[in-house]
Amino acid sequence: MAEITQRRSPLGGRAEARDINIPDGGTPGVALQHRTGLCITQAAAYPGCDAALRASLAEIAGSEPDARPNRSVAAPAGRLIWTGPAQYWLVTEDPQNPASDLAEATAETAAITEQGHGRVCLRLSGRDARLVLAKGSTIDFHPSHFAAGDCAQTGLLSVSCLIDCIADEDSAPGVGPVFDLYSARSTAEHFLEWAIEAAAPHGCRILTPGSGIAAP
């Protein structure tokens, strides 16, 4: 009997499209979207091999990751995110899973681990997105301090979370800032409930799960 592999969301249908607290004729302050179909590949360089790993990532992803802490890069293949010294995430969309190509290219220089099965990504966008994040974290989310290309690993309401700012008020005028929030699969439901509760007072539009830039 043939085996069938099917992705199952840990959110179990709780992130389906709906409007929360949006007055008639009003506009939502934020939009939330469960990003599905992501391949998250973690690459950790062996000692002294950071430059070689970054060269391999540039070959696979089309851009070199930023070696500075807490910086992310938009590459042709997806996002390259700093997650630690000499350690990066490459986030791409199905069906181009780069893990095996990357593992082959970095056999002597880095450890490659797929993380997509263990993470959930929520995309938070809109004019009040920074206010929503500030309710859960002690990081300064002012545009002058956390702009497009900045990322941070922190706790959102005590849940470990990676926040990647993929667009800000300057780069996406009219849309507002756009953040991708990555949390562990095991805390995904709690994470989503917190996000909805924090976003509700601002008027929240939950968009159909999928990929692409969500705008309210």
């Binding site: 802490p69 630690g84 002690t138 690993q153 706790g155």
Partner: protein, 98 residues
């Protein structure tokens, strides 16, 4: 509640960090020749200083890196942070940069 300066991520709230114990204990230089008393001292014996101390902390909700932190156990005043391979002493008087 205090704010720790991670060498990689900058200033972050203490809630993002996990305490890792006394960072002044030195691993026996020659483990093969170390006596049970040496190991006992390294593993179990801890001072309880009143004043400046150097501690291990891990930025567990951030970059997950270990760091050394100079902290005054009496006043909670924070001093310099350092990477694990960098020397840092309780008597370090380079002042606070946290």
């Amino acid at each position: 509640m205090f704010i720790i300066k991670c060498p990689y991520c900058g200033e972050r709230d203490v809630t993002e960090f996990s305490y890792g114990g006394d960072a002044t204990r030195a691993y026996p230089q020659d483990p093969a020749q170390a006596t049970p008393e040496d190991w006992h001292a390294y593993v179990y014996e801890r001072d309880n200083p009143r004043g400046w101390h150097v501690e291990w902390w891990q930025h567990s909700q951030g970059c997950r890196q270990w760091l050394k932190l100079r902290r005054n156990t009496l006043t909670h005043e924070l001093g310099r942070t350092a990477l694990p391979h960098e020397p840092l002493s309780p008597d370090d008087d380079e002042g606070s940069d946290a």
